[in-house]
């Protein structure tokens, strides 16, 4: 049995505390009035030549991405246009601009929290889905990793609770992340009225959105609770695989529900940040991003626990298989990224290109760096078969993959919520620390609670005997071949 060491516990609690302090600071330091926002704008523009220049650039991109902004929050540009007519370049324009920036700055701590939250929640969810897929496929190789995967899904509970809080906070208008939640968007004649969003009110509406969000979380957590309980029951059941077969059937049902809820979740939680924009591929694109991250996290936790001697049955072939999945789904992610980008670029319709225009203009570095990190690095590091069975190589490749997919989610969320006001500072970093701390605490305490080997699984022997033919297991005699 594995013991969750006091050292690691203290470390995770320290991360949580540190993250929490950072989050509180970033919420407290966000501007709360238009005047404060104006001060920040003035401060930005009077900050030396370089900064002035970049600010000019930003302004220019503001002009050039007008289409985007009129998409994202039509009310603003409409307000702007009206004011243009009345008082050309008057005070009102500055006010509207300042209000816009104010909302973006107020969104910043929320968005930072949201990006990390979605990343960690999504990883736990996709580990759960991968685990369910292993059960459904009746795979033999991965049984010794089942308890690792189950432990990681323990993180689904706290992240779901935080998500629930964020959903309720958004529904109570405590932030401006979802532009369609602004006042009057659905009221004809209101200055914020947006006919396009109003046309989707059968889907985009507050009660529906809140209820759907709760339903997604409920379905995922219900399956996790059930399968974890029954997986442990398998160990001692000795009932001629009755429990095992029940778990199989429930997992089939979960995969079915997961395929539906995952797409809908990505429409509601991410695509809804840009309520005018749409892409049919988006749900699966998010899926691919989270799946690569999830597989990387499984590999990381496995490598760590194995190094502590907690997983004696795991050998280099298992690591090799996980790395193959990391490699394969990295390529798959790139495929979907390219498919989405290429088709939107090819059709060149303003309603859809705004998404990439905004990202390419204001987020050029993270946007391009992410493609390199998520595609080029996995290809270079993990193509070679020998490298895939070396834990330290998998770690190097995995760090790049995880960072790359964090940036991917960052670039999905931030342009819609904070626009040009993005940066990577205390709010973003402390949110990451906070969720990492929770992750370490929940995952390793969950792992310590069950037998690291699922004794009752009928495929366990296949997994412990698993030896990929061209891998040499380090630290084993050659007679094991």
């Amino acid at each position: 049995m594995y013991q969750f060491s006091g050292k690691l516990k203290t470390f995770s609690l320290a991360l949580i505390a540190l993250g929490l302090i950072g989050i509180v600071i970033s919420f407290a330091s966000a501007p709360s009035t238009i005047d404060e926002a104006k001060e920040i704008i003035a401060h930005q523009s009077s900050h030396g030549d370089d900064h002035a220049n970049t600010h000019e650039d930003v302004k220019e991109t503001h002009q050039s991405t007008d289409a985007h902004h009129s998409q994202e929050d039509a009310h603003h540009s409409e307000v702007k246009k009206e004011h243009h007519v009345e008082t050309a370049h008057g005070e009102h324009h500055d006010d509207a601009h300042a209000e816009h920036v104010l909302h973006q700055l107020q969104n910043k701590p929320w968005s930072a929290l949201y990006v990390s939250l979605f990343f960690f929640l999504g990883i736990s969810l996709l580990v759960l889905a991968f685990y369910a897929a292993q059960r459904v496929a009746q795979s033999g190789w991965s049984i010794v990793l089942f308890r690792v995967m189950e432990a990681i899904t323990a993180n689904l509970v706290p992240t779901s609770i935080v998500m629930l809080i964020v959903v309720i906070a958004a529904a109570m208008h405590m932030n401006h992340m979802f532009p369609w939640m602004a006042e009057g968007v659905f009221t004809v004649g209101h200055e914020n009225y947006d006919p396009i969003v109003d046309g989707k009110s059968w889907w985009i509406n507050l009660p529906g959105w809140t209820i759907r969000s709760i339903v997604y979380l409920a379905i995922w957590n219900a399956y996790r609770w059930f399968i974890r309980k029954n997986s442990i029951k398998e160990d001692t059941a000795n009932d001629n695989n009755k429990t095992f077969k029940l778990n199989y059937n429930v997992s089939v049902g979960f995969i079915f529900l997961f395929m539906l809820t995952e797409s809908m979740m990505s429409w509601d939680w991410i695509m809804g940040l840009d309520p005018h924009w749409f892409s049919t591929l988006f749900g699966w694109y998010v899926l691919a991003s989270l799946l690569v991250s999830a597989l990387t996290v499984i590999a990381f936790v496995t490598i760590y626990l194995r190094s502590k001697g907690a997983l004696p049955a795991v050998n280099d072939s298992h690591i090799h298989d996980l790395a193959k999945f990391m490699f394969g789904f990295s390529v798959f992610w790139t495929y979907l990224w390219f498919a989405q980008f290429m088709l939107i670029w090819y059709a060149d319709i303003p309603e859809e290109t705004t998404y990439f225009v905004a990202r390419f203009n204001e987020y050029k570095l993270p946007f391009l760096a992410m493609v390199v990190m998520n595609f080029v690095f996995p290809i270079l590091l993990l193509l070679n078969s020998d490298f895939k069975s070396m834990p330290w190589f998998v770690l190097i490749g995995g760090v790049v993959i995880l960072a790359g997919h964090y940036v991917d989610i960052f670039v999905m969320v931030m342009p819609a919520t904070v626009g040009a006001q993005w940066s990577f500072g205390i709010p973003e970093f402390s949110a990451l620390l906070f969720f990492l701390g929770i992750f370490i605490y929940t995952v390793f305490s969950a792992f310590a609670k069950a037998n690291p080997l699922p004794k009752g699984n009928p495929y366990l022997e296949e997994s412990t005997h698993f030896h990929y033919y061209n891998i040499e297991h380090r630290g084993e005699g050659s007679d094991n071949h």
Binding site: L260, F278, A339, E462
Partner: protein, 484 residues
């Protein structure tokens, strides 16, 4: 790979088979004479093929005007058939490459025929663009070759050109993969052949396979490398085909989900076709011990899975078309407009064949039944044909200008060519079934001891069964293997 197999897994080889039995069973259709059923099937297919060829000659001789096309619907029946056949060609490479990488032993009963199906299906697919050119003798102009025709040069912006590269790459890799796998089995047939002519042919086909350890080592390495190459090809081919539709039907209309959704749809239809073909073949060639209920069930599970992915994609298409709020989306192939419009029958055929019927496979009784699987697989094949037809015909029939609205109706030539390709496909497949080992003999032997029914029973009773590769220790149960 891993030699241990959990007792809970069902056997892959039924009955009390020895190594020699496997060789005998699989070589039998090649060495023996064909039965009456084979000849009936062959002549029907041949007649259909000849009829199709007649229609092709008529088209080429008279012009594309004999098809049901118009200036507004410039392609419909032909591109539908093209994509349908390419899609069918997908399961072969999936079964041989992806399932090889996933170490799925059940693929061994079906991979040879699935690969053959791939190649024959791609032949049929390739016919359509060539005929549609009107001047097929200029077909080589699609290649970017140096030429004396002035400014003639291919358009690299066109997905149709990408098709040329994607499909020809796919065909080459699939062919090499198929042939590599065939080498040891051709050698087996060669060594057993009595007639000198037959011996000559099979020794040419087997490329001088000697069966030495070095041959086998290279064979395994090449198989893995080809599998690694073929896996992205499975994705790329239908991605490119989907882009034919996604970039070029109505100006501006496109859907980003098309690439992965078409790939899933292709695997869905490909498995349905494998199910259809193997349903016939296991009876005709007496392969009941090797193509079992379990194989049928596994294929049905893949069909449910890929069908489910396709269903989610349909739902997404329907949802987003509505969500955009764009009036141009009101009459795409999955929309209320399509359902209530003149193509409502095609819309419902698609949903009934592709979404509702496969749901029957959730019932274990049905998915383990040979006859039900056969019927459902044919329904899915029809449904997948309608998918492509709906995307093309429904979307094109209502362009952006009402003056371009037009309904496509096929002529007898359209239908004749389609039937002809089905005939051609079956002619090739039936010839293959008589001349090629339809199940990989050598690979089947590697799983006999781990997954054969009789060996599984022996293990249950506690009798020793050594791994198949361990020939030295033959005491106990493996005396049968020494017959080889």
């Amino acid at each position: 790979m891993s030699h241990y197999e959990a007792p809970i897994r069902e056997p892959l080889v039924l009955g009390d088979k020895s190594y020699h039995d496997i060789t005998e069973d699989i070589a039998k259709p090649i060495e023996g004479k064909a039965n009456k059923n084979w000849y009936i099937a062959f002549y029907i297919s041949l007649a259909a093929m000849l009829w199709g060829f007649g229609c092709i000659f008529y088209t080429v001789g008279t012009g594309i005007g004999v098809w049901g096309l118009s200036k507004n619907i410039g392609w419909a029946w032909d591109i539908t058939n093209f994509v349908w056949w390419v899609g069918i060609g997908h399961a072969g490479t999936l079964i041989s490459a992806v399932l090889l990488l996933f170490r799925q032993k059940w693929r061994m009963a079906i991979n040879r025929s699935a690969e053959a199906m791939t190649i024959f299906a791609v032949f049929q697919a390739g016919l359509f663009p060539i005929i549609h050119m009107g001047r097929p003798w200029n077909g080589y102009w699609v290649l970017p070759i140096p030429n004396q025709f002035g400014s003639l040069w291919v358009n690299f912006n066109s997905p149709l050109l990408w098709d040329v590269f994607a499909i020809s790459t796919y065909l080459s890799v699939s062919l090499v993969f198929w042939w590599t796998g065939l080498l040891p089995d051709f050698a087996t047939i060669r060594d057993r052949a009595v007639k000198p002519f037959q011996k000559k042919i099979y020794s040419l086909l087997s490329f001088g396979w000697s069966g030495r350890a070095k041959d086998w080592q290279r064979f395994e390495e090449v198989s893995l490398v080809l599998a690694g190459l073929a896996t992205p090809l499975v994705l790329s081919v239908h991605t490119i085909v989907s882009m034919d539709f996604a970039t070029s039907i109505n100006p501006g209309w496109h859907s980003t989900i098309f690439p992965p959704y078409f790939v899933a749809g292709a695997i869905f239809s490909g498995f349905a076709m494998v199910q259809t073909l193997l349903g016939i073949m296991r009876k005709v060639t007496n392969m009941e011990s090797y193509i079992t209920r379990m194989h049928v069930e596994y294929m049905n599970i893949v069909i449910i899975l890929t069908g489910g992915i396709v269903a989610v994609a349909y739902a997404t298409e329907f949802f987003i078309a509505w969500y955009t709020g764009s009036p141009y989306e009101y009459y795409t192939y999955l929309s209320i407009g399509a359902e209530t419009g003149p193509y409502g029958w095609a819309f419902w055929s698609l949903l009934i064949c592709n979404i509702f019927t496969p749901q029957l496979l959730w019932f274990k009784k049905i998915r383990r039944s040979f006859i039900w699987s056969f019927i459902i697989s044919i329904v899915i094949n029809i449904g997948m044909w309608f998918e492509r037809f709906d995307i093309i015909a429904i979307v094109l029939s209502k362009g952006h200008l009402p003056s371009t609205w037009w309904r496509f109706e096929p002529t007898f030539v359209d239908v004749g060519i389609f039937i002809g390709t089905i005939g051609f496909f079956f002619v090739l497949f039936l010839l293959y079934a008589r001349t090629f080992p339809v199940i990989p003999i050598a690979e089947m032997k590697t799983i006999l001891k781990s997954s054969g029914e009789s060996y599984k029973k022996m293990r249950e009773q506690g009798l020793p069964t050594k791994p198949a590769i361990n020939v030295v220790e033959t005491e106990g149960t493996s005396d049968k293997s020494t017959k080889e």
